[in-house]
Symmetry: C2
Subunit: 228 residues, 2 copies
């Protein structure tokens, strides 16, 4: 039985923008593990392997269920130690810092550009749940969020810090990608797969790194369906 | 001949607040290398090993002169490969990201609280150079910078991202300190050694990590002289 990843899907089940599900997809590809993705909606938690937990990513591998992208990455490195996602615990700690930076800096900048788009693309049965949960999270209506100005510039400014490691190394992991790359690129898949067009222009050398990340694993991320 | 580190000093030559000189001091201690520090002022570049470069840290080891804290760290790992500062190039890339984060997030928050203090503590012959160079850098007078409000809260907010790695690991380097720890803690020595009192309250678990960093190497950083 192959490994299963529960992955958020929009009305079109091929649209899968969830950033932390993407982090896990990159991690599974890095490990060269076969896996299938199981699309789930936002609202109906009975589709989830653990309805009470009510979030994804969750993987089911044989009889084991593992939740939360960081925990999944650590679990993959324990169970499948070849080709580690984090070769040292210093690299694992750095991935935690990148994840915290994504939440503190990139997500607040990009989220207002995405919420109305995702609402429009969500399945009918998910729309009211999505609206209610996101409006509670942000303390604004979806329409107020969508009307926020200057977000593109904020996103582009937030990305400048990535120019330091990527100006010196091909990947955040150094000469090859590691969990840090998958954490950050996973978060960049969220806007990429929530809009037909690119919503911001990454500064160099970040933009070139994004292209390299899209090319990995036979172009897996580049081939992911975008909205039309 | 022992290794020499050129280190910025204030009017009291035992006051050495330069953040990137501190990164290098931590790196030299980590390598268990004997070194002496050579105090230099801000203005008189003829004291510097490379007056035209006109910055510190610079180390002189035998006949070699190495400039810039990141370059010095990489050079130390090449010349003295035991006990690496960065065990993988993923760790070295992460240290670049922490350094960029320090410049983008911590320094803009803390600098307005420090510039007038350092000006007051600088040697008489350095004061006009220090005022001119810092007022050009910030586009404000020292007195305007000192009058900025809300910086303590900005500093404390900026430190929250460090709680993610430090909530899971004892050090940014994992179970032991690495170049990431020295980069960040070096920057925290700047406010510590520019004021008699603590200027902000780090959130936990960052505060506990700072205490661990002060304890390293027989309390080297904790023993560093603070202004009275």
């Amino acid at each position: 039985m192959s490994l299963k990843l529960y992955d958020l899907a929009l009305a079109d089940p091929d649209l899968r923008p969830s950033p932390f599900c993407w982090m896990v997809k990159f991690a599974l590809l890095h490990k060269e593990l076969e896996f299938e993705t199981i699309p789930v909606g936002f609202a109906d938690k009975s589709q989830y392997p653990d309805p009470e937990y009510g979030r994804v990513p969750v993987i089911v591998d044989g009889g084991e269920t593992v939740k939360d992208s960081a925990a999944i990455a650590a679990w993959l490195d324990r169970k499948y130690p070849d080709n580690p996602l984090a070769a040292t615990d210093g690299e694992a700690a750095a991935a935690e810092f990148y994840r915290a930076w994504v939440f503190a800096s990139f997500f607040p900048a990009i989220a207002p550009m995405l919420v109305a788009r995702i609402h429009a693309l969500a399945a009918e049965e998910d729309k009211s749940y999505f609206r209610k949960s996101r409006e509670e999270r942000f303390g604004k209506t979806i329409e107020e969020l969508a009307a926020t100005t200057g977000q593109k510039e904020k996103v582009e400014a937030s990305l400048q810090v990535l120019s330091a490691p990527l100006g010196r190394y091909r990947f955040l992991g150094g000469h090859k990608p590691n969990l840090c790359d998958y954490t950050v690129m996973g978060s960049f898949m969220w806007p990429r797969l929530s809009a037909a067009e690119d919503l911001y222009e990454a500064p160099q050398p970040v933009a070139a790194w994004m292209e390299r990340m899209l090319d990995l694993f036979d172009g897996y991320a580049r081939k992911a369906k975008r909205p039309s």
